[in-house]
C-alpha cells in the first residue's frame, strides 16, 4: 500500500485520474437522468394500464438477466453505433436503470392515496396537471429511494466497461491487474466509493428539497 503515494506523486497520473473520474461521472449519471425521465413515463403507463404494467414488469425482469458486459457490446451491433462509442455504455446503463426504476415509480404512483387523487380530480384538475402537480410530487420519496439504488449500482457498473475499453475508473482495475499493481486498483475502488457516496448525498439533499412535507412529520 506504500505504493499509493508514489503512484499519486506523478502529475500526469493525477490528471489521468481526474479524466477517468469525469468520464465515470458522465457515463454513470447521464443514464441516471435519462432513466428517471423514462421511468416516470413508463411508470405512469404501468399505473394507468394494467396490461402495460404486467408487460413492462416482465420486460424489465428479463432485461435484468442480460449481463452488463454483453449489453455494452451488443448494442453497437444492434443499433449500429461505433464500437468504442460511450453511447453504448450510456444506453446499456439507461436500459438497466430504467428497468430498475419503472417498478418503484409505478408502485409509488399506486401508493398515492386514492382520496388525494380523487380530491384533485374533483377540484377540476385535468389529468396531465394532476399527474405533474399531485401524483408525481407524492411519488418522489419512493422514486428517490429507487434513484439512489440506481445511481450507486450505475457507478459500480460503469467499471465493467473497462473490459471493452470504455473509459471510466474501471481502467484502473484492468491496468492495475495487468501490472500486478495494487495502487491503482485501490484508488479506483476508493474513488468509486467516494463518488457513489457524494452522489448519494446530493440525491438525499435534492430529495429533501423536493419533499419538505415528509420531514414535517411522517411519511405521506
Amino acid at each position: 500500500m506504500g505504493d499509493i503515494p508514489k503512484y499519486l506523486s506523478n502529475a500526469g497520473t493525477r490528471a489521468a485520474l481526474l479524466d477517468m473520474l469525469l468520464d465515470h461521472v458522465y457515463l454513470s449519471l447521464v443514464p441516471l437522468v435519462v432513466s428517471v425521465a423514462l421511468a416516470i413515463v413508463l411508470g405512469l403507463l404501468c399505473h394507468r394500464f394494467r396490461q402495460v404494467n404486467a408487460a413492462l414488469i416482465g420486460i424489465s425482469n428479463i432485461v435484468y438477466t442480460i449481463p452488463s458486459l454483453a449489453l455494452f457490446a451488443i448494442i453497437p451491433a444492434v443499433i449500429g453505433t461505433q464500437v468504442l462509442d460511450p453511447v453504448n455504455v450510456i444506453l446499456a446503463l439507461t436500459v438497466y436503470t430504467t428497468a430498475l426504476l419503472v417498478r418503484p415509480v409505478a408502485e409509488a404512483l399506486a401508493a398515492v392515496p386514492a382520496h388525494v387523487t380523487a380530491a384533485a380530480t374533483a377540484m377540476g384538475f385535468r389529468p396531465l396537471r394532476r399527474f405533474l402537480t399531485v401524483e408525481l410530487p407524492l411519488a418522489v420519496p419512493v422514486l428517490a429511494a429507487g434513484v439512489r439504488v440506481g445511481s450507486v449500482s450505475n457507478i459500480s457498473l460503469v467499471s465493467v466497461g473497462a473490459l471493452i475499453g470504455t473509459g471510466g475508473l474501471g481502467t484502473l482495475f484492468t491496468d492495475g491487474f495487468r501490472q500486478r499493481y495494487l495502487a491503482p486498483i485501490i484508488i479506483g475502488i476508493v474513488l468509486t466509493l467516494v463518488l457513489a457516496l457524494v452522489v448519494d448525498l446530493l440525491l438525499v439533499l435534492l430529495r429533501n428539497r423536493l419533499t419538505p412535507w415528509v420531514r414535517a412529520g411522517g411519511a405521506p
Binding site: 380530491a119 380530480t121 374533483a122
Partner: protein, 349 residues
Amino acid sequence: MIEFRDVTKRFDDGTTAVNGLDLVVEAGTITVFVGPSGCGKTTSLRMVNRMIDPTSGTVLVDGKDVLEVDPPTLRRGIGYVIQQAGLFPHRTVLDNVATVPLLIGWTRRKARARAAELLELVGLPAELGHRYPVQLSGGQQQRVGVARALAADPPVLLMDEPFSAVDPVVREGLQDELLRLQAELDKTIVFVTHDIDEAIRIGDKVAVMRTGGFLAQYAPPAELLTRPADDFVASFVGKDRGYRSLSFVDSSGVEVAEVPTVVEGADAGSSSDWRLVVDAEERPQGWVAPDSSVVPGGSLYEVGASIRGALDAALSSPSGLGVAVRGDGRLAGVVTARQVLDVIESRRG
C-alpha cells in the same frame, strides 16, 4: 338546485349502485344522503360532479344537464369535500386551500389572501397556514378540507362523509361549524354520511337509501323520525326515534319557574327544598340537596332550543328540576319533566 331524474348507475361488474333515483335538492339547503355501507351514497354524489357518469337518467345542476359540461370546468364550480379530507400532503395548508383559485387563474397573491380568509372562516388560526397537513389534528384537517372546497365560492358543495375520521366530540363541533357557515354562505349542499344522528342534525332534508341503490325515503328529518316510510327506515333511524324527534319540537311552550338559588361559596344555610348553586354571573353550578349536600347538576338547556334538551335537563337533574339558561349561560329558570310532557302532548293534539 340539483336534480336527479330517474338516475341509474350500473358498474361494469354488474353492481347496480344507484337505481332510478328521482330527487330534487333545493338551492340553499342541505340535503343528506344516508344509508348503510354500499347503498350507493357516494356513487350518487359523484354523479353530480361527473366523477362518475350515470348509466341512464339525467343529473341537472341549476337546470343544466351535467353531461353537457366539460368535467374539469364543471368541477371547478362545485366544491367537493372528501372523506378523510383528501388534503395534498405535499402542500402547505394555505396552498391546499388556494388550489382551486389558482386553477381558475387567480394570481398567487390573491389566492393566498383568499385562503387565509377562509382559514379564519372555518375557525383555524392563521399560523396553521404554513404547516403541512400531517402536522394538523384530524379535526383541523377536516376544517381545511371544507375551507378548500369553499375557496372559489362555488354555489354547490358536495361533502362525502367529511367528518367520519374524527372523534364524536370534535365531530359535533364541526357539524355546528358547518351549520353556522351555511347560515352565512347559503350554499346548496349535498352531504353523505352513514350516521343517522349526523343526518338528522344537519339536514334540511334527508334521503335514506337502501342497499341496491334504492331511495327509501326523502323527507325532512322530523318526518323521518315520526313517520318512517317503512320498517327499513324505522329500524335505520334507530330505536330512540321518539326521543330524538323531540329535537324538532321547540321548547317555547314550556314555562320556566323560579328556583331558590345559593351563590357559590356562600353559606347555603338549610332548607327542605333543593336549591340551585350559581356563580357570580348567575351560571348554574350544581345543586344543594335538602340534606345540605352539594351534588353536581344535570344537563342544561337553552331557552328556545328544542324540547329534547328540556326533557333531558329535567330527567338528568338530581332535583327533578331541569335547568334552563339563556344564550349567555345565565339561569333562566327550571322546568319539570311533567311540564315538558304536557307541552309535547299538546303539540301532538
